[in-house]
């Protein structure tokens, strides 16, 4: 987890065929944004360069370039981190606060939902909280019950905060830039197992944006609509490919923004295919898929050929042991099975 490219490295090397990772895209998004706007500041545990530029290196090189004032490592104190970001954002700064892992938002929940999400409303619009909370999660490394939760449904249920989760380098760059531009607080969810895979040729340039609230149709299709986001979007892409081999044409949608989610794109696709599978890593019950399934079932009442099928994490804490961890979240195989079932 330590040899990751920084924007400066990457720029300096300019190889003919750069391989781009989500990590590099996020790193460049920070560099580009901070270079353009001196009001962007950044804080979090081990975030600055003397501490390694972040545990996986997303913020590597930033403090060296933009100084210790704007880029700060903090004590282990998530309430203090989010609070500092809120305060600075109230008076003109645009903080990017990192909460190392999504489970640790649980210790800062009051700051996030009672304050960041509500101050604009409670002040009658006198103040606003244009901050980004970056955080990471993800199974696959055996880190067990307290390091892999997907809590996006909590934030999506909270008025006043937006929720974003990219699954490709382009989206990671474009969504992070849009989140930073946004006048309201945004939770930006990164995924440990997706950081490192080189999946495209060029780093987006500094004008690249992916609008919040717009899903991506990552593959067009006519038989089944498959909705996902974050790491599971990768599994979904594989499942869609395999389905094609079986003669099922899948329209694969990556939500990208979970709140507000892109009803228009999703409903148009579901209306076209009339069969829908939703898959995410978070626990299925009361998860993101529930809202989307409820809306699709309501809006396309009588028009679906099959009930909306939801896949999600098992109803348990994330387990440690490899076979259990693998069984916990939906994978390409199980998604494919759902596609086949619903297409039948």
């Amino acid at each position: 987890m330590s040899d990751t490219a920084t924007a400066t490295d990457t720029a300096a090397k300019k190889p003919a065929r750069p391989t781009v990772t989500i990590l590099a895209a996020l790193n460049k998004a920070h560099f580009d944004a901070m270079a353009e706007d001196p009001k962007i500041i950044s804080l979090g545990e081990d975030l600055a360069d003397p501490e390694g530029g972040g545990v996986v290196g997303v913020t590597r090189g930033l403090s060296a370039k933009f100084g210790d004032d704007r880029v700060r490592s903090t004590p282990i104190a998530e309430q203090a981190i989010i609070g500092a970001a809120i305060g600075a954002s109230l008076v003109g700064y645009k903080p990017i606060a990192e909460i190392m892992l999504m489970n640790f938002t649980a210790v800062a929940m009051d700051m996030i939902v009672n304050h960041a999400a509500k101050l604009r409303f409670m002040s009658g619009g006198q103040t606003s909280v244009p901050m980004v909370i970056r955080t990471m999660t993800g199974t696959g490394f055996g880190s067990g019950g307290q390091h892999c939760d997907y809590l996006e449904a909590w934030f999506a249920h909270t008025a006043g905060i937006k929720v974003v989760a990219p699954s490709t380098p382009e989206d990671a760059y474009g969504l992070l830039r849009s989140a930073i531009d946004d006048p309201d607080p945004v939770i930006f969810i990164e995924n440990l197992p997706t950081y490192f895979a080189p999946v495209s040729f060029e780093l987006p340039d500094s004008s690249h944006r992916v609008p919040l609230g717009k899903a991506a149709i990552q593959r067009e299709g006519t038989d089944v609509t498959l909705i996902s986001y974050a790491r599971i979007a990768g599994e979904a892409r594989q499942a869609a490919e395999k389905a094609a081999e079986n003669g099922i044409s899948v329209e694969m949608i990556d939500l990208r923004t979970i709140a507000p989610w892109d009803r228009e794109t999703v409903l148009a696709s579901a209306a076209k295919t009339s069969r829908v599978v939703i898959a995410h890593e978070a626990v299925k019950e009361y998860g993101v898929g529930a809202e989307i399934a409820a809306v699709i079932s309501e809006e396309l009442f009588g028009k679906l050929k099959k009930p909306v099928k939801r896949l999600g994490g098992a109803f348990s804490a994330v387990p440690y042991s490899k076979p259990l961890e693998t069984a916990f979240a939906p994978d390409a195989e199980r998604i494919l099975a759902a596609i086949v079932e619903i297409a039948g």
Binding site: G83, A84, G87
Partner: protein
């Protein structure tokens, strides 16, 4: 004496009194308005605690930041929150500073640096640091004041904030208004250690327990802390001893948990009339001058209450606005 060199002069004392008199009169009016049924609200009276923010605010600038709590209207008025948008907000009207959306527990008025009022105990502290961080980055020598109670001192957010402020040498002033009770729980029953001020040392910052009801001492302590913060030397914790006269929330029968003698003694030493008497005795002002100030205040409050009660109510459609910058679709 501690805080030497920061004693208030006579003009400052008069300034402090003007604020304290406004605070006292406004609290009395609020209780009257509630009892009369003109405005229905949960109200946390600060009567008895007026000197703390009055003296503090006399040492602050308009552009300094303040964060406070549900029991914080005294902090806001002392800092300059204008009466009309304040009363209109209490009355839940569109003309309120928060358009009726926030209410008494979330009063906000950025033009006077009143940035956050929270109903979650202790939660102002981490946010106050953020305002202080902005001031540090802006190099504008503003300070950020965080008000909280004795009870709030035991919650995690306050600890995290004091440590960060110390490490980052932030211009945050932590004002613990110690009124000896948190709701119905006594200071002794919830506090490890003898006082709150000593906790500052644990974080490597200065901390003082001061008589929050003594205008001169309170002013000097605040002025010294502010000077230190403006000079870039970092945060200070002031534990300001005081008492609240009307229980936790107005209507609460505090005779059930406050010993009669304790309350009687505190009310005997009501700091605002005592201060008034001293100003006259020390010839800082005459009885007539002070009476005139007080009459003016009553007039301003009359005006504000009338303004509030005559203002329009918000309409349900307003719920779509101010959730995000962009309105929620109807």
């Amino acid at each position: 004496m501690a805080f030497q060199g920061y004693e208030p002069d006579n003009q400052t004392l008069l300034d402090i009194y003007k604020r304290a008199a406004l605070l006292k009169a406004n609290d009395e009016r609020a209780r009257k308005v509630i009892l009369s049924g003109q405005i229905a609200m949960v109200y946390y009276s600060y009567r008895g605690q007026e000197i703390i923010p009055s003296a503090l605010s006399a040492a602050l600038r308009d552009d300094d930041y303040v964060c406070t709590i549900y029991r914080g209207i005294h902090d806001m008025l002392a800092k300059g929150f204008p009466l009309r948008p304040l009363w209109a907000e209490l009355a839940g009207r569109v003309t309120g500073s928060c358009k009726g959306k926030g209410g008494p527990m979330h009063l906000t008025y950025p033009p006077k640096g009143i940035m956050v009022t929270t109903g979650i105990v202790g939660s102002a502290a981490p946010i106050a640091n953020g305002l202080a961080w902005a001031a540090q980055l802006d190099k504008n020598d503003r300070v950020s004041v965080c008000n909280f109670g004795d009870g709030a001192s035991n919650i995690g957010a306050v600890h995290e904030a004091m440590n960060l402020a110390s490490v980052w040498k932030l211009p945050t002033i932590f004002i613990c208004q110690n009124n000896l009770y948190a709701e119905h729980t006594t200071f002794e029953k919830m506090t490890g250690g003898e006082n709150i001020a000593n906790r500052a040392a644990a974080y490597g910052m200065p901390g003082f327990r001061v008589n929050g009801n003594d205008p001169a001492e309170m002013y000097a302590a605040a002025a010294q802390a502010i000077a230190r913060a403006r000079a870039g030397e970092g945060p200070t914790l002031l534990e300001c001893m005081t008492f609240r006269f009307f229980g936790h929330s107005f209507g609460d029968d505090d005779s059930k948990y406050i010993p009669k003698e304790q309350k009687a003694k505190a009310m005997e030493n009501d700091p605002v009339p005592a201060f008034r008497a001293k100003l006259i005795a020390d010839r800082v002002a005459t009885e007539e001058e002070l009476a005139k100030i007080e009459a003016d205040i009553e007039g301003q409050i009359d005006d504000a209450v009338n303004f509030a009660l005559e203002s329009a109510w918000p309409t349900p459609d307003d719920l779509r606005f101010d959730v995000f910058e962009k309105e929620i679709a109807a």
